[in-house]
């Protein structure tokens, strides 16, 4: 089979429109994947629509918050790589007060996805950014899918997505998943982050009061020296200061240590553990 890649210039290869043809929806086939991608986001922002567009599955999409309470998984391949996509329940935060929030939080933290897509509602950007900021505390492998751009336009909102990407320090892809707009660009951004070609330097929330800042810095330093490879020491520190029992327990059991050595096998075992909970 001849693909256009062989005859086009190098510039074409980074062009998302060209690469859209490289998407293969694999449905429930998730064998031998190279990367795990998590789909997070506030409720009712179109996560399931993005999930369906990428995997070709037909997860029922409902126009109401709280429709997805469990994880749905599917596969797709893009370029030379196979991806496993995990649709997480919608949450406003990762502070885990209910079961569905915990499913999302645990997966981003312990499942160690290679990329986390945060689907954000462009018409309610401010509130959606709360979650984006929390996710990018945990991992710098984040892509924001700025969804529902069609509705934002309908409401007369103009969004400077490049400004947003610069401020957040991570890729931002404007899209209207219902219309299939922006899917090629999203795939391109996800593959760049997955392969480490684009390394985000996420914005860190500034903690206003000085005592707070001091406490966070002190604990972060201590955690960093105990777990030199942990990518999110500051976030762990924040959770411990907030009295998060689940994180304290993970530390006691040494689960945090495992995370830093995320081979595919160890990761699979972690997934198993979370699945059984």
């Amino acid at each position: 089979m001849t693909t256009p890649t062989q005859t086009t210039s190098a510039a074409c290869e980074t062009c998302p429109v060209h690469n859209a043809a490289a998407l293969k929806k694999l449905g429930v086939d998730m064998t031998d994947f190279d990367f795990v991608v998590a789909l997070a986001g506030n409720p009712n922002t179109g996560k399931s629509t993005v999930f369906n567009a990428l995997t070709g599955l037909r997860q029922h999409v409902g126009n109401w918050p709280g429709k997805t309470v469990t994880r749905a998984e599917g596969g797709f391949s893009y370029g030379d790589n196979k991806y496993k996509l995990v649709d997480l329940p919608g949450t406003y935060s990762l502070l885990a007060t209910s079961l569905d929030e915990e499913v999302a939080r645990d997966f981003i933290l312990f499942g160690q996805p290679d990329v986390t897509i945060v689907v954000a509602d462009a018409t309610r950007l401010e509130r959606n950014l709360n979650l984006v900021l929390q996710v990018s505390e945990i991992t710098n492998r984040v892509v924001v899918a700025l969804n529902l751009m069609d509705e934002a336009r309908r409401h007369g909102l103009q969004i400077d997505e490049r400004r947003l990407a610069r401020d957040l320090g991570i890729p931002v892809v404007p899209m209207s998943a219902r219309q299939g707009e922006g899917i090629p660009e999203l795939l391109q951004a996800v593959s760049e982050v997955a392969k480490g070609e684009a390394v985000g330097k996420p914005y860190r929330v500034k903690y206003v009061s000085p005592e707070l800042k001091k406490a966070v810095e002190q604990l972060t330093a201590q955690i960093e020296s105990a777990f030199p490879d942990l990518p999110n020491a500051r976030w762990v520190a924040l959770r411990l200061l907030d009295g998060d029992e689940r994180i304290a327990e993970a530390m006691r059991k040494g689960e945090l240590g495992d995370l830093t050595h995320g081979s595919i096998e160890a990761r699979a075992a972690q997934l198993q553990v979370i699945g059984n909970q």
Binding site: P65, G66, L164, R178, Y203, L219, L238, L241, A266
Partner: protein
Amino acid sequence: MTTYPLNNHEDILNNAQSLRWEIGADFHEKLMESIYTDASQIADRAVTRPDKKPRFDLDRTIDKLVTSRVWGFPLMLILLTIVFWLTIAGANVPSGMLATLLLDTVHPFLKGVSASIGVPWWIDGLLLDGMYLATAWVISVMLPPMAIFFPLFTLLEDFGYLPRVAFNLDNMFRKAGAHGKQSLSMTMGFGCNAAGVVATRIIDSPRERLIAILTNNFALCNGRWPTQILIASLFVGALVPAHLGGLVSALAVVGIAVLGVMLTFVSSWALSRTVLKGEVSTFSLELPPYRPPRIWQTIYTSVIDRTLIVLWRAVTFALPAGAVIWLASNIVIGGNSIAGHLINFMNPFGLILGLNGVILLAYIVAIPANEIVIPTILMLTVLVTGATGVGSGAGVMFELDSDAQTLSLLQTGGWTLLTAVNLMLFSLIHNPCSTTIYTIYKETGSKKWTTIAAVSPVILGFIVTFVVAQVWRFVESLL
């Protein structure tokens, strides 16, 4: 893998503990505040809002209407009635056509083939009169209403109406001592109770979640809508002139659905006052924007995903059930078949409840799937009444082309309007199907709560039908 000395962890945790004392109790609020502040700054820089608000905001105008104190509930009932009326009026003709095809044409043809190749009578009976007919009957009764009802319901859901229903009901749930989000899991239960039970995961507090799980049964599910629709059109719709029949039947079904919602409130209230006492949590419910439904896609997915999946489930249960019914009707012990013995045994109890032995036996057969209640009842009624002209032997699903024939058969079986009403009530209240019971066990992890969820609705069903039957008969004796 590198392992870290454990005391390291304890050091960190101890340090975290002492730091927590220093920074004070409002850390969580400060944390949230910082995130909110930064999020708002970043958003402000990226978003340019229109200079002036548009004078007319369609979303808010619709919201004001559908969630208004005065119009919210009437509009809800009107929409539901329209959906059922379209379902009832639209399903009649295709149901009849399917019945003619599967029961009048294909069945005799298969019988002819099996006779010509000399299949033994009992294999022929078990396969064609038992399993095939049960399945064909399920398909012709269920497929048309589902193929109309699901797309309509999904269109409402796609449009964004369901959260408004939840919004309207939220206040009542809180008054009942339950979580407002229960309105969402209940709405989900209107599709499938097992799905509704899983949907209760959105409720944070275990107490309120348990209330939502235990009462989800009162949301009429897929498997029970066809029963309600059929019985309502046969008995209730027949009370009025033909041109009003569809509307009146639709109203009867809406009445049962609303009764289910009220039972949900009452039982939630009772639970939260007795065994599941506690504070009501607050939450904020987000009303999503109205979105123009994508009509063709919705019809496609709701027919393929929902209708066919539910139908497939019904068929997989109808096949063995058909075999069981045929066997029970054809294995004779002491001059009567097994089914006959069971029906005679349960009949006195059934009659006290305004039902009969056939209905009770049908509900036992249908524990795995409510979908097969009606076919089972019809099959067993033929057996008991020995109705001629419709069946061709014991335990044989018969060929009924029209509602009129079904009605006359049931009347031969001693059915009255009371039987129909009580069947509708019992179908609403009785135990959840085995899939839902299993889901409740998985979600609660408790045998005790699972047992309560399974047994208490049956008892309530008996009580309600008993009371209705007594009052009904008393009033009748006065007339």
